[in-house]
Symmetry: C2
Subunit: 293 residues, 2 copies
Amino acid sequence: MTTILTIAELYPDFEHHLIQACNFSTSSSTLTQSMQYSLQAGGKRIRPLLALTTCQELGCNVEKAYPIALALECIHTYSLIHDDLPCMDDDDLRRGKPSNHIIYGQAHATLSGDALNTLAFDILSDPNTNLDSNTCLQVIAEIAKAAGYKGMVGGQALDLENENKSVSLSTLESIHRHKTGKLIEASVVSGALVATTNANTISTLRTFGQAIGLAFQIADDILDVTQNSQTLGKNAGSDLRKNKSTYPSLLGMKEAQKLLLTTHKKAIDALDRLGLPFTNLRNIADYIVARTS
Amino acid sequence: MTTILTIAELYPDFEHHLIQACNFSTSSSTLTQSMQYSLQAGGKRIRPLLALTTCQELGCNVEKAYPIALALECIHTYSLIHDDLPCMDDDDLRRGKPSNHIIYGQAHATLSGDALNTLAFDILSDPNTNLDSNTCLQVIAEIAKAAGYKGMVGGQALDLENENKSVSLSTLESIHRHKTGKLIEASVVSGALVATTNANTISTLRTFGQAIGLAFQIADDILDVTQNSQTLGKNAGSDLRKNKSTYPSLLGMKEAQKLLLTTHKKAIDALDRLGLPFTNLRNIADYIVARTS
């Protein structure tokens, strides 16, 4: 068993790997800067941390999961850049800084998002990943499905189409399971794929990932109402302004908070079934419920 | 040796495979329609045909290259959708039809481009591709590099930054080698990777791909001046309107046509060095020079 690093130790390690990975140049210096600006803007790094710690808490050297962690952050970052565009959610503040298109313009924001999307697969297919080819392909398949029309992009489209509409709870859950949930689920599963081939372990961790993915979004909806923009690092109250249905708007704040706790319990129950400590994964699940930004 | 299908036979076969591949649904019906609209809008299908015929002309069953052909067309199509956006080249006509954002709006055009980009890697990592894992990974690496900041997206960024500027011939070549050339080169090389591990064959076919990639763009610049919008299926004269440097504007029409022929010869010379007939590849190279749209 290798030493298990805490989340507090993994975070700066990931930032260090990210800075190294950002040490590239492109034929366009504006494109390079635009990509680096958003990658290095900070953030919770939930997806990479999930992949890294799932890998190590299953007994595998955490270094093996770094390409996956980087790829996940590339995809998450590209989705934020494109979501913030005026034609999409039109947000000018992200991670406490001006959105990418505010600094680099819409054309370069579109292109840097495109480049980061592709960069994820460039990183995962690099012959130096130290992962065997079968595992690499499984991870690519997992992440591509979670990020594309079957997952994140499908969810964002559904979200846009339901602005200014009153949606059912099941539609709201479908939006969030796709838009946010699938990539969080894939983060846990791809970290697991590096460490094990045990189908039961992978499927139980998938259940964990699905639950924390949903919990993350319920918490997001609650924070949008209860916190201010400075604490969030993005514009607060934006769901209300865009007339979007949310868990608090559909269920009321009290029931939304109750659902958050039930969903958190589902996640913890899944971990309990596997009989390993999973200290970090439990901490991340707790953080998702307790976070203020 | 399997039977070599002609380009005229491969084209409808590819369209058939593409229609089958388009038989998907997403959580958003608008997103699905938007993706299918652009994939099925016709087009020359140069990239898929290059991959398919390179594979078969090296003696391998063409069926093996279909996932690659589909992935290449997904990436090419996403790049057209995003390039046509108002914040980029702002073109309202593509493949003889209204551009994607004219029909589906900018938000869905952005998302369907994103989804097609990711779909390429979903297709390539599918366990049913019938390719061994190592080859799959090599192809993913080849295509990701060619499509991302090291290739197509980098070239598009450089192109945008040089609008309304007088550029040198070497900058123009760099723009085109990245923006159009790299993915055409990757189409040939990935078709070859399926069929052979011979490094000399792959590298010589890379030279062929680079030459026809450049020839394709020189021809494009010439056609933008000499043809009308109806023949081209996109707005003619757009380089001039956007004040973009082109081969005819930098060299004059006569020298541009001469460079087109020299570049075509480089491509044919590469094929000659390999001692195989490559009838289809020669036909595609000839078509690139002689095409009117």
